[in-house]
């Protein structure tokens, strides 16, 4: 499936001018608040009629201002999970879930029990939305959108109005959604951690325009995009396989191209592939192999790129046997270590610094409570 968007729209003195194509999987629209992400998906959903442009899903044209086509939102079959849930307050959870079923095609597809199971909302069916927590509401809202049998699911910062513990509660459900349903998802977010964990493709939006499109890791590893993706949270993505659990010290060992990683014990079976996110600010650089060091993860590699040298802080990209790592250093350190393209270095990462919240993959056993405890 391909969603092709090419739209121009003025909202006050903000101009949206976005072109991109997104294919299967979970596509994240990443950008700061006010960058126009929500306006883009509102246009796809049919809630905004753009000044000019086209929107199409495969061969179905939803908007074409030249041919004067505008399919109204109720005939688009595009599910929408809003930031605030927007459950109907008067009916129960079950009635909310079934609302879209009246209008959905009757062919076999998403079934009620399957969706209830997937989202773990069996206990909430007979309650009215007023009696649901924020996280529960969002899960019901996701189920409601799914049961309308959409050909595309839009999610507008579904976690933004929730606290950290609730976010950790819902993220695994969104991962399951991505893995188990065939529905492609466009996911709006300003959080790099969420996008790193969920997205297969990233559309980077800035000031109403698409700044870059590409596979998640590729976008995250581009130093020149850091001003847009958010420098403080920037980091690299590493694919690693769980190799061994060290019960004595409560550690889990993973292996990636770069070498061996040790993390505090993860509740994941051996052999599972995970995506690790290593924040640039957690990576130290040494020119020679350090000894007598507390950091457990020491990986050798070469400098492959050095970011803009204006200001006090410089990002350095490393190539560690095929894995990318990014380190955030002071310009002074870069100079002192004499780093330039190709310099052999060692990257040091404290095990406890690894961002467990954005670990992605089949981490089934991790309950919301565990994840919340990690935050402390």
């Amino acid at each position: 499936m391909t969603v092709a968007v090419d739209i121009c729209h003025r909202l006050g003195n903000f101009t949206l001018d976005a072109q991109f194509e997104a294919t299967d999987g979970l596509v994240a629209l990443l950008g700061r608040s006010g960058s126009g992400k929500t306006s883009i998906i509102n246009t796809i959903a049919g809630l905004i009629n753009p000044d000019r442009g086209r929107v199409r899903i495969d061969d179905v044209v939803l908007i074409d201002t030249v041919r004067e086509i505008f399919v109204p939102s109720h005939r688009r079959r595009i599910g929408y999970v809003f930031q605030e849930g927007r459950l109907f307050p008067h009916p129960t959870g079950r009635q909310n879930l079934l609302y879209g079923r009246w209008f959905a095609p009757r062919e076999a597809g998403t079934d009620f029990d399957g969706v209830v199971d997937l989202l773990g909302i069996g206990a909430l069916l007979d309650r009215r939305p007023g009696r649901l927590s924020g996280g529960e509401k969002q899960r019901v809202a996701i189920g409601r959108a799914l049961l309308a049998k959409p050909r595309l699911l839009l999610m507008d910062e579904p976690l933004a109005s929730l606290d950290e513990a609730r976010k950790a509660e819902i993220l695994p459900y969104i991962e399951r959604l991505r893995e188990q349903t065939r529905v492609p998802i466009i996911y709006v977010s300003h959080s790099i951690a969420e996008v790193a964990r969920l997205a297969s493709t990233v559309v980077l939006v800035s000031d109403g325009k698409v700044a870059a499109v590409g596979p998640t890791a590729q976008i995250m590893h581009r130093l020149d995009l850091f001003p847009l993706t958010g420098r403080a949270e920037a980091g690299a993505l590493i694919e690693a396989t769980v190799e061994r659990h060290d019960e004595q010290f409560g550690l889990t060992e993973l292996r990636s191209h770069a070498g061996l990683w040790r993390l505090p014990r993860l509740d994941v079976p051996i052999g599972v592939r995970l995506r690790l996110r290593v924040r640039a600010r957690d990576v130290m650089i040494a020119r020679s192999a350090p000894s007598d060091l507390s950091a457990l993860n020491v990986l050798s590699g070469r400098v492959s790129d050095i970011g803009s040298r204006h200001g006090a802080i410089v990002e350095v990209r490393l190539d560690c046997a095929g894995d990318v790592l990014i380190a955030r250093l002071t310009r002074y350190s870069v100079q002192r270590l004499g780093l330039s393209q190709g310099t052999p270095v060692f990257a040091l990462i404290k095990s406890v610094a690894l961002d467990r919240r954005s670990l992605s993959g089949p981490i089934r056993g991790m309950s919301g409570a565990d994840a919340a405890a990690d935050e402390v």
């Binding site: 939102s73 599910g79 009215r128």
Partner: protein, 233 residues
């Protein structure tokens, strides 16, 4: 206790009043909904004009409203003669005329209550229903209507109460004919104009109070039920 029991004529006035008020409220409701929707949601030329026109009976002296009705809906009036000719609906000196006068007087109150509740509806919920596949008519029936139910109840009660008490416009438009257009207020007024009518006036006054109390109680119960269903966090 004899003085408490109502005479047949008095019963007629009570029944007529209730019938007039019920008909005025029920017939007025769909029109009220349409006008309230137009005022709350519509962006069109003449918006303020419509608003002013609807509110007019609230501000005009009731006698003036009654007289305007007489001119427009009387036997020779432009609207009255048209309706009588094509639909056989006659207003002048009939209970239907009383219902029309009461409905017109209660209309602004009903529209006001409906409009406020429509404006309070979160349009984002209607958008959400649209993305789930509901067209505008379904969205109105399944989302908007249940959400404005408390407002509908309030509007109907206000209109009913106004219709029960309406006097000036009714008596000007359809006069005070026992059994046909003599509603409770006109009957009470008639009693006060004849010697020895005090007891009758008092009896009907108590009936009025009782009906008003019942209507209020009923509205309270219904509003509580409707609100319990809404129970927004």
């Amino acid at each position: 206790m004899d003085w408490i029991s109502l005479s047949p004529e008095e019963w007629t006035a009570v029944r007529l009043s209730i019938r007039v008020a019920v008909v005025a409220t029920l017939v007025g409701l769909p029109f009220g909904l349409l006008v309230a929707l137009a005022l709350a949601r519509g962006r069109f030329w003449g918006h303020s004009l419509l608003n002013g026109f609807v509110l007019l009976p609230l501000i005009l002296p009731p006698v003036v409203t009654g007289y305007i009705l007489l001119i427009l809906f009387g036997k020779r009036g432009p609207i009255g003669s048209f309706l009588a000719e094509h639909f056989g609906i006659v207003f002048s000196f009939r209970w239907t005329g009383a219902a029309l006068a009461c409905g017109v007087m209660g209309f602004p109150l009903m529209v006001r209550a409906l409009r406020l509740s429509i404006e309070a509806v979160d349009a984002r919920l209607e958008e959400a229903a649209g993305t789930l596949g509901a067209n505008r008519a379904w969205v109105f029936l399944t989302v908007t209507l249940p959400l404005i139910l408390p407002g509908i109840i309030t509007g109907m009660i206000l209109c009913f109460a106004k219709a029960m008490g309406e006097f000036g416009a009714t008596i000007t438009f359809v006069s005070n004919i026992p059994g046909e257009t003599q509603t409770l207020p006109s009957a009470i007024y008639t009693f006060t104009q004849v010697p020895g009518g005090d007891a009758g006036a008092l009896r009907l006054t108590m009936v009025s109070v009782a009906i008003a109390m019942l209507a209020l109680l009923a509205s309270e119960l219904m509003a509580r039920y409707a609100n319990r269903r809404l129970e927004i966090e």
